[in-house]
């Protein structure tokens, strides 16, 4: 009964595929994430209304589940904009910020971490110093300062987050690289005269990739939450851009009267971050099952 499985050669990729398809968390979180991403991409087709169009006569309509009408399934905000449409368009902002910030951080952190881990010694000391400097700066405070100086916009927020969230990449990849560096296949490659870039790209990077992916998902979730926090404080993306954080911020005056205004984007952020984190955990399980506990 197992012959069918054994007859195919088990490349590392195929082994991972098999584990992935058996992993419940991976399938669940992956499905939800895929739905959210698809919704963000096809927002113009899916959104029932223009997210910017105000209709002051239809302000603060309650959502369907509280007895509202199907014209605005998730109700309207205090300017009469359709919440569902804003939610769908808002997914674009959250995912964009999450992705770009995580990528920028990944590039910075991985470069520093791998170099520190591979070379050790002085390079390591410099990188550790940089990490300490970075850790000494509270992200939200620096973010607030930069945004208030440069003015809030999508790009400012994204780049500030991207330039601030690399510490975990650097710390984790530094130790992962140190571990891989002590493996004998790295020594074997050096002995075979492999130039530095080949050792780094062929022997080190593929073997620390799973750490990189896991941290990337964590930092993506982190960036999304920080964007929401900055927007909530009024220093993130500028209104009227639909952003989930901004939607919470705009709803905060209504907290005691129309709490669904906050609950809806709040729930969206919660689900997105939860799924990204679950996805990251799943990737860790799939790429390195021995690291699970």
């Amino acid at each position: 009964m197992t012959t069918a499985v054994i007859s195919k050669p088990l490349t590392p990729r195929r082994v991972m595929m098999r584990r992935a398809l058996r992993h419940k968390g991976f399938l669940m979180a992956g499905t939800v994430l895929a739905l959210i991403v698809l919704a963000a991409i096809f927002a113009p087709l899916l959104a029932p209304d223009d997210p910017y169009e105000q209709d002051l006569l239809a302000r603060l309509q309650v959502p369907v589940y509280l007895g509202g009408s199907w014209d605005h399934p998730l109700g309207t905000d205090s300017l009469g904009r359709d919440v569902l449409s804003r939610l769908i368009y808002g997914a674009r902002i959250s995912i964009l910020i999450g992705l770009i910030a995580a990528c920028v951080s990944a590039v910075i952190g991985t470069t520093l971490g791998v170099l520190a881990g591979y070379f050790g010694g002085r390079v390591d000391k410099v990188v550790q110093f940089l990490i300490n400097v970075r850790l000494a700066m509270p992200v939200v405070l620096v973010g607030l300062a930069v945004v208030s100086l440069r003015g809030g916009s999508l790009w400012v927020v994204t780049s500030v987050l991207g330039l601030l969230l690399w510490d975990r990449f650097a710390v984790v990849l530094r130790s992962a690289t140190m571990q891989v560096r002590s493996m004998e296949y790295v020594a074997a490659a050096e002995v075979l005269g492999a130039p530095l870039h080949r050792v780094l790209f062929k022997d080190i990077l593929p073997n620390v990739m799973n750490h990189l992916i896991v941290i990337a998902t964590l930092e993506m979730a982190h960036a999304i939450i920080l964007e929401a926090a900055l927007s909530f404080l009024g220093l993130g993306v500028r209104p009227p851009t639909p952003s989930w954080g901004l939607m919470i911020s705009e709803g905060k005056e209504m907290l005691l009267f129309d709490s669904w205004l906050i609950a809806t984007p709040g729930l969206a952020i919660f689900v997105l971050v939860l799924c990204i984190n679950m996805f990251g955990d799943a990737i860790r399980d799939i790429t390195a099952p021995e690291g699970r506990n």
Partner: protein, 542 residues
Amino acid sequence: MAETVLSIRNLTVDLPEGADRPHAVEGLSLDVRPNEIVCIVGESGSGKSITSFATMGLLPAALRPSAGEVLFEGADVLKMSEAGHARLRGNRMAMIFQEPMSALNPCYTVGDQIEEVFETHATLSRSARRKRVIALLEEVRLPDPERIYHSFPHQLSGGQRQRIVIAMALAMDPTLLIADEPTTALDVTTQMQILKMFRRLKEERGAGIMFVTHDFDVVAEIADRVVVMQKGRVVEQGTAEEVLNHPTHPYTRQLIDAVPRRTRAARETDAGAEIALRVQGLEKAFHTPRTLFSPARTVRAVANVDFTVRRGETLGIVGESGSGKSTLVRCLMRLTEPEDGAVWVGNQNLLETQRGNLRAYRKEIQIVFQDPYGSLNPRRTIGDQLLEGPTNFGVPRAEAWEKARELMRIVKLNDEALYRYPNQFSGGQRQRICIARALMVEPSILIADEAVSALDVSVQKEVLTLLREIRERMGLTMLFITHDLRVAAQVCDSVIVMEKGRIVESGPIDRVFAEPQAEYTRKLLSAQPGQGWEVPDLGVTA
């Protein structure tokens, strides 16, 4: 029957679906009587550890015994509740593990850890417990029991730690002692002391001992009866004398035949051949800077090492762990920068070569590492890794592929292996791949750093034969680093014995092993297990 301590009848343990065979252990029956050492021998994956875990009730959740019984003092252990097991373990039966460091908790003193056994299984006053612990430490011959009592595991050596584990196992005077490869992680001299202790325990305590090992020389040293396992089944059992000297089952014969002989296949060495490698005054020390709590320390890992190797010669470098063998090799390869000395290959001093120019000389010396699992990159195909060397030296791809195919044939693997990933190969196959990888750049010197230590005996024999063939075929010069004197005796022409970074003795292997001059060499040689056993010539051709 009343005399047996442990009697296993028809034990079958299932493996989870999708494993290479349906049962980890199948229809196993054996008896352990008091005052007897029963050795379970087999290669890795033969189910010998599963047998000991099943007896202790420590099987991993995925493995379930599906048939048979394990009768210990008349009761079936397999039908016992978890609590019933816990009452037996450490009390009536006790286990000694392979790795003494991980068997002890680093956060408690060893005294506390032994006392815990008494706290669990007996009601004794504090002072009585302490007295018993000290008595135990004396029994396992630890020096200065008072000091040891207050020591933490990391303050003790490997052999001392293993004694602590044994003392713990002995605490409640168990009738059954299970030892799972208890000496495999230890140096030979320490191994000898521990083996002697097992023999003494058998006589003084009268306990039954089930001793799991893969090493026939250890079996010859201590066993009363031997059980040979292969793929979960018992293929042969009997008294030590019968099994060791008159094995009947083909598998046992094959295993015994693979045991390294202490004699070398006679081989001509050309004393007039040119010198391939000359090492002069090599020095490497490791410095630990002073910290708040400890003064600065300097350890001379390699101290003033001189030797020469002639073309076509095989030089053995032997010594126990910590003798500086591996550091010496890393210095030769310049994986570690030595502090002083010279390494001449032909008329080029490798240590004076700039790092940038070093690549040209990388071709000359290649290495095969110890750990077959750590020395291949899991994320690259075998072909990709074999091509690494030639690519770096600018050999065209097609030519390199041709060479890779040829080498795969030489190391007796299929061409198709080139397209596979390392996870599809066994330890022995991986080691052959590593040899092929090293030979891809046509080195003149090959270093084997404990290249066969991690392998089962029969695989070890194959790899050694392969190395010998390759050496003859290509006229390679070899440095063979090993802690196993039997293996050294088999393959080397001359030998260097290292202790604490120094060469204490060197010379032709026959002379060094027959008439050792240095005290340390003599100690090493006399600690070899199984010396009373003349490996029978079974005429098996593997």
